[in-house]
């Protein structure tokens, strides 16, 4: 008792001090024109050619500009840094640049910069991590102060897609001076925002580029400052959205999004993304031939039975929500070449599934393992669906890299996988990736390889679509995959913010405004 009285002054002083410390942690937001955003993953490098995460695409869209621009609604291409572009022939693309575009350091962007950046990315010696985005380029050649030509190694139909999505232009002199490592921590671009404060892996501050060039199809940025933080735990992001210390988050899981809907200062806008979920079967039968693992899925009727057994609609409605829908194509429907009419639809029909299993010689079903790397609840629902038709699937969750290694070794009869196509609106980013006899191909259908390789190099869009349509028909008829559902990203953000999400799941803060 005595000691409390003796020390009470110290205690009160401590409380007051604590109060002062706490009140100094003021929340930002609309008042001070600062948009607080969070991502769960930290970026390994701010150099687009040296990171592979979605966050890297998001950063690049704000700080850099690509040569071309893909309209997020119509998917049409137009010039961004390019004033105009024209195919001379199948492997030669002429580009005329805009004049008067400045990098954040005040230097003017010219053909030298564009040519340098493309050649840098295309040169395997520079070891960029995103080889695929630029390895179709043979070389870029300057033809005038603001004009140059891209020579392709071979006809490459998605060239415009990659030039609009993945190949930003860097300032030659600065990049040469600091090298890719220096550039990765202190980048300079022409984009609508400048990176002014960088604490790698922790926090970035982007400030509006007041000199952003007029007539950019991106429009002029409106919000003054973006504070970008890495908050690895989604629960923490949700808590901060509620208190208002965070203005924007995405990829919020459905149950947490549901909670956030009840919060007065937060709006939840679900948006379908290009990511689709699907089951793969070891149709090439590597499991049996290489490892002696039981593989009922070598039988087309078993694969079809599984395709009928999964209740896609129930998973889409109840577990994903927010406009997720069943998918029957081995690609996202908006992708060029994803011909929905070509696909065979497997309606949810457990009885049909059982009939097919009986025909395949499994009247009592069988035991198997379902491998998966994310979304345990979805996989568990599928295990339940399979159980109902007699297939006893044991769920094994693995880390992504470990599962992929296992698949490549040919030890995965049945897998639940997902693919986001890296937001590339072209089926070559998904179907060609998995059916051209590469390491990830566990189907090995020679017909598919033939058609897809022809389609990948076909410059005539109609002919291309026809070939991809044939491939989609074959993949679905033979049930090499069981496409399942689309993914939805729940965009959760402050009620003060005008923000539009798009299926490519690349947030465009430069288009956002305060209400």
């Amino acid at each position: 008792m005595h000691s409390w009285k003796k020390h009470s002054r110290i205690w009160i002083a401590a409380m007051v001090l604590l109060g002062l410390v706490l009140s100094s942690a003021a929340w930002a937001g609309k008042k001070d024109d600062t948009l607080n955003v969070a991502f769960t993953k930290e970026l390994e490098s701010l150099d687009r050619y040296f990171n592979t995460a979605r966050e890297g695409i998001v950063f690049a869209r704000h700080v850099y500009d690509n040569l071309l621009f893909r309209d997020p609604e119509t998917y049409e291409y137009e010039g961004l840094l390019a004033k105009s572009f024209e195919w001379e022939d199948e492997v030669t693309l002429n580009i005329e640049l805009r004049q008067g575009v400045e990098f954040h350091n005040g230097q003017e962007m010219t053909a030298d910069d564009a040519v340098y950046t493309l050649n840098y990315a295309a040169d395997p010696d520079n070891k960029v991590k995103t080889q695929r985005y630029s390895n179709w380029i043979d070389k870029a050649e300057k033809t005038g102060p603001y004009s140059f030509t891209i020579h392709l190694k071979y006809p490459f139909p998605p060239a415009l897609e990659f030039l609009s999505g993945a190949n930003p232009v860097y300032p030659k002199d600065y990049h040469q001076e600091v090298g890719y490592k220096g550039f990765g921590v202190k980048p300079i671009g022409t984009g609508p925002y400048k990176a002014t404060e960088i604490e790698p892996g922790k926090r970035l501050v982007l400030v509006k580029n007041e000199n952003y060039f007029q007539n950019s199809p991106k429009g002029q940025p409106s919000i003054g400052k973006i504070v970008w933080r890495t908050l690895p735990e989604m629960n923490t992001q949700v808590a901060e959205l509620i208190t208002g210390s965070l203005d924007w988050a995405f990829l919020v899981p459905p149950d947490q999004a549901e909670q956030l809907k009840k919060v007065p200062n937060v709006q939840v806008v679900p948006a379908e993304t290009m990511r689709i979920g699907y089951l793969t079967f070891d149709a090439a039968n590597f499991s049996e031939t290489k490892h002696d693992i039981d593989n009922p899925f070598k039988e087309v009727k078993v694969r079809q039975a599984v395709s009928h057994a999964i209740n896609r609609q129930a998973i889409a409605d109840n577990l994903i929500g927010g406009g997720s829908r069943p998918i029957y194509t081995p690609c996202y429907p908006s992708q060029l070449g994803c011909i929905e009419e070509a696909a065979k639809e497997y309606a949810y029909d457990p009885e049909k599934a059982q009939e097919l299993l009986t025909e395949a010689g499994y009247p009592d079903g069988f035991d198997c393992i379902l491998y998966a790397y994310r979304n345990r609840p979805f996989a568990e629902a599928m295990v339940g669906n399979l159980k109902a038709v007699g297939i006893d699937a044991k769920l094994v969750m693995m880390k992504y890299s470990a599962l992929r290694e296992r698949q490549r070794a040919g030890k995965t009869p049945l897998q639940f996988l997902t693919w986001g196509s890296y937001s590339i609106n072209d089926v070559s980013a998904i179907i060609s990736n998995f059916f051209e006899h590469e390491a990830d191909d566990i189907t090995r259908d020679p017909k598919l390889k033939e058609w897809l390789e022809a389609a990948d190099k076909e410059m005539d869009t109609e002919k291309r679509k026809e070939l991809y349509g044939k491939a989609i028909a074959r993949i679905t008829e033979r049930a090499y995959w069981a496409p399942l559902f689309s993914y939805v990203s729940n965009n959760c953000f402050s009620k003060d913010l005008n923000f539009t999400p798009y299926p490519d799941a690349v947030p465009r803060f430069y288009m956002a405004t305060w209400k």
């Binding site: 604590l18 410390v21 706490l22 100094s24 942690a25 993953k41 930290e42 390994e44 490098s45 040296f50 592979t52 995460a53 395997p124 070891k127 991590k129 995103t130 080889q131 695929r132 890719y180 490592k181 990765g184 790698p200 892996g201 922790k202 933080r229 890495t230 908050l231 690895p232 735990e233 629960n235 923490t236 808590a239 901060e240 509620i242 208190t243 210390s245 880390k399 992504y400 890299s401 470990a402 992929r404 290694e405 490549r408 986001g420 196509s421 890296y422 980013a429 990736n433 590469e438 390491a439 990830d440």
Partner: protein, 305 residues
């Protein structure tokens, strides 16, 4: 004492080497680093390219020996993922983790020592049981869950404390409690049993007979004796806390080495994981070694054996 010292030191070095070897193997087993590094959309050529580029195609033992020989010279290599020297990455983050560890340990001591003393003064009464309950709850609750509950109550409901980051001292309050609370029961029980033993001893009776004030007896004659084993345990607890901060740092987005370890495991960033495991095991081994020495110094029976 010297023989004992040498034996213990040799054991500590062996433990460190064993930990580094086991962790090296375990990380390899958990996934192909080349696949993780090349990213989700990488083609097989890209993955092979990465594999050769970073030498993942060489035998495991060669990779380990090469790493170990450089590590001994203080070169922990470069993160292939971040393209930054590992020492720099750890150097930037160790401050946060150390601050958190020391704060959490202080919190644990400040909570558990008074509780232990209280429980010992009134053994087998409601005070004793209450003190025990308070401290056992700490161990029974998973720290990440307790952390989230605090976020909901103190951060969201009453808006008293900031939820994430490490900008101000206030940012450390919730993580400190979440991490420190977990260590409370071990220390508290040790204080309680130590105090009970000491309070029953002759010199306390003598002190009472001399007419000393109760407070002085408790503090000067009893606690000082009872606290000796606690000091040894604290060293081990600090090691636990540095390891336990992996979860807490993730929940509160404190970018210390715990969080760094967590993300690096996810992306198979081997040099970083390796370095953190090495660092934490060295800290742990050193602390355990020191506590062994302290015990041996205080209690001759240990070193004679």
């Amino acid at each position: 004492m010297l023989i004992y010292f040498c034996k213990r030191l040799g054991l500590a070095v062996l433990v460190t080497i064993a930990v580094s070897m086991i962790s090296f193997m375990m990380i390899r087993v958990s996934g192909d680093p080349a696949i993780a590094l090349a990213g989700e959309a990488a083609t097989s050529e890209e993955i092979e390219f990465v594999r050769e580029q970073y030498g993942f195609d060489r035998p495991l033992i060669v990779q380990y020996l090469e790493w170990a020989s450089r590590a001994i010279r203080g070169d922990l290599g470069e993160s292939p993922y971040m393209n930054l020297p590992v020492t720099e990455m750890i150097g930037n983050r160790i401050g946060v983790t150390m601050t958190l560890g020391i704060c959490a340990l202080s919190f644990a001591v400040l909570l558990s020592v008074p509780l232990g003393v209280l429980a010992a003064i009134r053994p087998n009464t409601w005070i004793d049981r209450l003190a025990l309950t308070i401290s056992v709850i700490g161990q029974a609750m998973p720290s990440f869950w307790f952390g989230l509950i605090m976020i909901i109550v103190l951060g969201v409901k009453f808006r008293l404390l900031p939820i994430s980051g490490a900008e101000t001292p206030a940012h450390f309050i919730m993580p400190t409690i979440a991490l420190g609370y977990y260590a409370t029961p071990a220390i508290m029980r040790l204080v309680r049993s130590g105090m009970l033993e000491v309070l029953a001893s002759d010199h306390i009776r003598t002190a009472k007979a001399k007419g000393l004030r109760w407070g002085k007896i408790l503090y000067k004659h009893a606690l000082r004796n009872a606290i000796i084993p606690v000091v040894a345990v604290l060293a081990v607890q600090l090691g636990f806390m540095l390891g336990g901060s992996i979860v807490i740092e993730t929940v509160f987005a404190l970018h210390g080495i715990g969080h760094l370890a967590w993300v690096s495991i996810g992306r198979s960033d081997l040099p970083v994981v390796q370095a953190i495991v090495l660092l934490l095991s060295i800290i742990y081994v050193v602390l355990t070694f020191l506590s062994d020495m302290l015990n041996a110094f205080l209690d001759p029976r240990i070193r004679v054996k």
